[in-house]
Symmetry: C2
Subunit: 135 residues, 2 copies
């Protein structure tokens, strides 16, 4: 049984470095909340230093991104790179191959909100090459 | 069918005044995204001017609040008022009677992330009296 109301205080959850296996450059996670039975999606701030980005990946249950600071990029496989800025909201439908990250010169922070299918929130693929990133 | 990736640009969705029926004081909604079949929860920034608050209410599927600015208050029915500040995260379990809002002198903004049960995200109850708010 969970508490009726749970307050997780600022500063009580440590920052975490994103795994080098699935990210290029320096990327920091600041967790907000984990998925639960009642609300089966997790949330975290993700901060990408300039030039940093995810690998190509898909989300079995989709993902919302709420850009809270800076300027970044998102690209669907086979489509042009799109610039995203603070205040933009991105929806990535289930199963869509894509990447997201900072712009080359400016960092970017977004909140990710990600559901899971059979316990899996992301399926990771190959890294985004400098050529793909720089297009 | 939805698009593979949808970018909703900052400034493209108008702010909305919260309905006076369920809120006290001036409260503004800035929508982020609506619930969908793949991601059955909605999200919005909610900004409460000093002294403004929700009515008492419950969430059939629970609710996450991510406080992004200022200082506010949250209270579970029968429990003390708790102060919340930028960076705090609140989880309200399904069916728990509560209210949230700004502090008396300082505004508060949070993102709400709210699931729905049978299409309903909130069940609204009586207003929070000045005495309850000021405790």
């Amino acid at each position: 049984m969970t508490n009726p109301i749970t307050i997780t205080r600022a500063g009580s959850r440590p920052s975490a470095e994103a795994p080098a296996e699935h990210f290029t450059g320096h990327v920091r996670f600041d967790p907000l909340f984990d998925a639960s039975a009642a609300a089966p999606f997790s949330g975290a701030y993700v901060t990408f230093e300039p030039g940093a980005r995810t690998a190509w990946h898909t989300h079995p249950a989709g993902q919302h991104l709420v850009v809270t600071a800076g300027v970044g990029r998102v690209q669907e496989w086979g489509k042009p790179v799109e610039e995203i800025r603070a205040g933009d909201v991105v929806w990535v439908a289930p199963g869509v191959k894509h990447w997201h990250g900072a712009s080359p010169a400016v960092a970017m922070t977004h909140i990710h909100l990600t559901g899971a299918l059979a316990g899996q929130g992301a399926e990771w693929l190959e890294k985004v090459s400098d050529g793909q990133y720089g297009q």
